[in-house]
């Protein structure tokens, strides 16, 4: 065990921090913020990802031959933390970089890598994920979107749901049914679909927070060339599992953790300044105990992610432990945002830009958003099944 950082790691951190200071607009996060409208914000984020690429700071975990830096796990951890610390815009092509990219690197043909990776890293093409369907949520293997072979093309028909940022995407990787005659896991194929193809349409799906990150995506006789299959035809399930292990992995948790901690620090500052009945709210022992628990749990979210990265660095294969990671943080974060809003007491309902709202009304939005944590990217029930069966060896 060794928790010290090497000089090389410190050098990496300094280089990144220096670059970020120059790349972000002056006053960023203090006087300068993202645009408010959802579309303008998306455009802004795409521009930011292009800036990252031009600076050589996009997809650092990719091999050098595809434009990455062959970054170690520790470097990735530093990267996630530094970007979050600088409060850089969230990625809009996170699905492209982390999921499509990682999946193609692991399972794509050389031609696919050459075709897709450069445009992902340059943010010239944004990606969305076509896994869930109205009838296939937790039971992902029951997807019904059909892909039928017609010469050297598949013809795709069906509906996907929860396709984040589909409205800004040029490409979608989808799990489609290519053989309805075998049992359900065996008849699925992992297919890359051009979102500009005729027959693709999307409809925004408003979330409980009022935002429109998600969509329904419809495929109506969409023609997709056979070379867009990743892996084997009817071998898509195994590939999708790789994608999900990345989605639930520690890299994702690390970046989120810093953002949660920033909100926690904002909350602590807010409650230190907030007077209730003549004394600062932060001095109430009951409030302190609850917030301390979140301080601890969010710190552990970081420590756990670092530990998992360390295990990968030491050669452990990615697997079900990512489910424990995801299960842990989703509930810890939900509890935090519930405690945050409850700590506001009478002020809890005040949201948005109301002059009396504290913390910029930020906690209310985060509270609503956090309700989805334990559902998306595999519900907590699914994660518990995976942990119970694949880690603890309990029978199905």
């Amino acid at each position: 065990m060794d928790f010290a950082r090497t000089p090389a790691e410190e050098e990496f951190r300094t280089a990144l921090r220096t670059w970020l200071a120059g790349a972000l607009p002056a006053g960023w996060g203090e006087t300068v913020f993202e645009p408010e409208g959802e579309d303008a914000r998306a455009q802004f984020r795409i521009e930011w990802e292009k800036t990252l690429h031009r600076g050589g700071w996009a997809c650092i975990h990719w091999p050098r031959e595809y434009g990455g830096r062959d970054a170690s796990q520790v470097e990735q951890a530093i990267y996630a933390e530094e970007l979050a610390r600088a409060r850089v815009p969230e990625g809009i092509n996170i699905i492209g970089r982390n999921l499509a990219g990682s999946t193609l690197l692991a399972h794509g043909t050389e031609a696919q890598k050459q075709r897709f990776l450069p445009r992902i890293i340059a943010c010239e093409e944004v990606w969305c994920q076509g896994f869930s369907e109205p009838g296939a949520g937790s039971d992902l293997a029951s997807v019904r979107t059909r892909a039928e072979l017609d010469g050297d093309h598949f013809v795709v028909n069906g509906q996907k749901v929860w396709t984040s940022y589909a409205q800004y995407s040029q490409w979608c990787f989808a799990l489609v049914r290519t053989d309805p005659s075998v049992k359900k896991h065996a008849g699925l194929t992992f297919l890359l679909i051009d979102m500009t193809s005729p027959g693709v349409s999307t409809r925004p799906l408003k979330q409980i927070s009022g935002e429109n990150e998600f969509n329904e995506t419809f495929f109506d006789n969409v023609r997709v060339p056979v070379e867009n299959v990743v892996g084997e035809i009817n071998g898509g399930w195994r590939i999708a599992m790789t994608t999900l292990a990345h989605e639930r992995g520690p890299e994702d948790a690390l970046g989120r953790q810093i953002r949660f901690k920033q909100e926690l620090e904002l909350l602590l500052e807010t409650l230190s300044g907030l007077q209730r009945d003549g004394r600062p709210v932060i001095e109430q022992a009951n409030v302190r105990q609850k917030l301390a628990q979140s301080v601890i749990e969010l710190d552990i979210m970081r420590l756990s992610a670092l530990r998992q990265l360390s295990q990968y660095e030491n050669g452990m294969a990615r697997g079900a432990e990512a489910s424990a990671n995801k299960l842990y943080w989703s509930h810890v974060a939900q509890d935090f945002f519930e405690r945050a809003i409850d700590a506001l007491g009478p002020l809890a309902p005040l949201a948005g830009h109301d002059p009396l709202a504290v913390g910029g009304g930020r906690f209310q939005l985060s509270y609503l958003q956090s309700r989805a944590f334990s559902i998306y990217s595999g519900s907590s029930e699914i994660q518990r099944n995976i942990i119970g069966e694949r880690i603890l060896g309990l029978p199905r």
């Binding site: 296939a136 009478p346 002020l347 005040l350 309700r371």
Partner: protein, 379 residues
């Protein structure tokens, strides 16, 4: 002792439930806007606002207890909070108003023509009105109230005011249109509440605007307990609705070729919600009954109900969304409306921490009185 509703209560509930179902169809898609106050007319037509009003003033002279099933239904239907505010106001005017005050306000309330918004919360205070900044001095009222539900649609505001000369707290009835009263729409977690900030700047206050003149302090305390007990029932209604929706969905939604309710993860979550809702029901029913009796136990019972029901509502909102999976966090299904309302109801008239502290303090106080602990245990 009878914990069940009697025939009259059931009949009253059924009538109200039908009227609310018509007036407030749950369309899911959109939270109703701040300017919508649907349900009021239907309730007025039923004579709901006269329930607690003496017959002499055109009311039915019923007890607060009789509101139990109705308040729960108002919670479940996400009805405008001004309905409950006005009912609470009518109760306090009956108990603590002078004859002149009763004659002035009760007939109009009973006819459904006078809406009262209770303005309790302040930005820098907790829930105790003795620590609030809204004060009256030399007949002038000054202060700022927040999160007043549908203040723009109510003709009158009812609020606790401290007298500038000391600690005495009265309740004041203030006309919404009085000079010096300014309303500002507030952005709120639950836009359907129509929340407003109310600024009071040198508002002239006639002496007969003060309730509780012959029982100083009691009127404000009573309003708080009545409103807390009613809000516990609103929370219970929300919790029950979320629990039922979860069970309904679990019976119908198929994954892995079976209804998801056959999975213990879902089944047991629903069973836990049921168990919590039944416990909350026992607490909320008793809470309002104790407040109706107005005996020594009433404040403690109201706090007990409010603390517990708020927590159960929060838990059921969370768990019901989870049972609904991806559908649970769509705007379209509308579960977020319950989630949002639950937070508003939870923060109004004492949050759970406030009420827990009050329950403990009152429990210790009762224990300190000789034999009273045993007396309470056996009450």
């Amino acid at each position: 002792m009878n914990y069940d509703f009697d025939a009259q209560q059931i009949e009253l509930h059924d009538v109200v439930a039908r009227a609310l179902a018509d007036a407030l169809p749950f369309d899911g898609h959109e939270a109703r806007g701040a300017d919508d106050c649907a349900g009021w007319a239907a309730m007025a037509e039923l004579g709901l606002f006269g329930l607690l009003v003496p017959e002499a003033y055109g009311g039915l002279d019923l007890s607060l207890t009789d509101l139990t099933p109705i308040a729960q239904e108002l919670g479940e239907r996400l009805a405008p909070l001004s309905i409950v505010d006005t009912l609470a106001a009518s109760e306090v005017i009956v108990r603590h108003g002078t004859l002149a005050q009763q004659a002035r306000w009760l007939p109009a309330i009973a006819r459904g023509e006078l809406r009262v918004a209770v303005a309790w919360l302040e930005p820098a205070a907790g829930y105790d009105p003795h620590a609030m900044a809204t004060t009256v001095a030399a007949g002038r009222l000054n202060g700022t109230k927040m999160l007043v539900a549908h203040a723009d649609r109510c003709e009158w505001l009812l609020l606790p005011v401290r007298h500038g000369d000391g600690s005495r707290v009265d309740l004041a009835m203030v006309e919404r249109t009085a000079p010096g009263v300014t309303l500002t729409v507030q952005e709120s977690l639950d836009p359907s509440c129509g929340h407003h900030r109310v600024d009071l700047r040198d508002v002239a206050l006639a002496p007969d605007a003060l309730l509780g003149g012959f029982a100083p302090q009691l009127a404000a305390a009573r309003l708080f307990d009545v409103a807390a007990a009613l809000h516990a029932l609103l929370a219970l209604g929300i919790a029950g609705a979320m629990m039922s929706r979860a069970a309904d969905y679990a019976r119908e939604r198929v994954q892995f070729d079976v209804p998801i309710g056959s999975f213990q993860a879902i089944k047991h979550k629903c069973a836990d919600m049921y168990t919590l809702v039944e416990a909350a029901r026992a607490a909320a029913y008793y809470g309002l009954a104790a407040v109706a009796k107005g005996d020594a136990e009433s404040t403690r019972a109201a706090s007990l109900a409010k603390a517990y029901c708020n927590d159960v509502a929060a838990r059921c909102c969370q768990d019901s969304i989870q049972v609904h999976g991806g559908m649970g966090f769509t705007w379209e299904l509308g579960l977020h409306r319950f989630l949002r309302r639950a937070k508003v109801v939870g923060a109004a008239f004492g949050d759970p921490d406030f009420h827990r502290e009050r329950v403990l303090a009152l429990t210790l106080e009762a224990m300190a009185q000789p034999h009273s602990g045993a007396a309470r245990s056996a009450a």
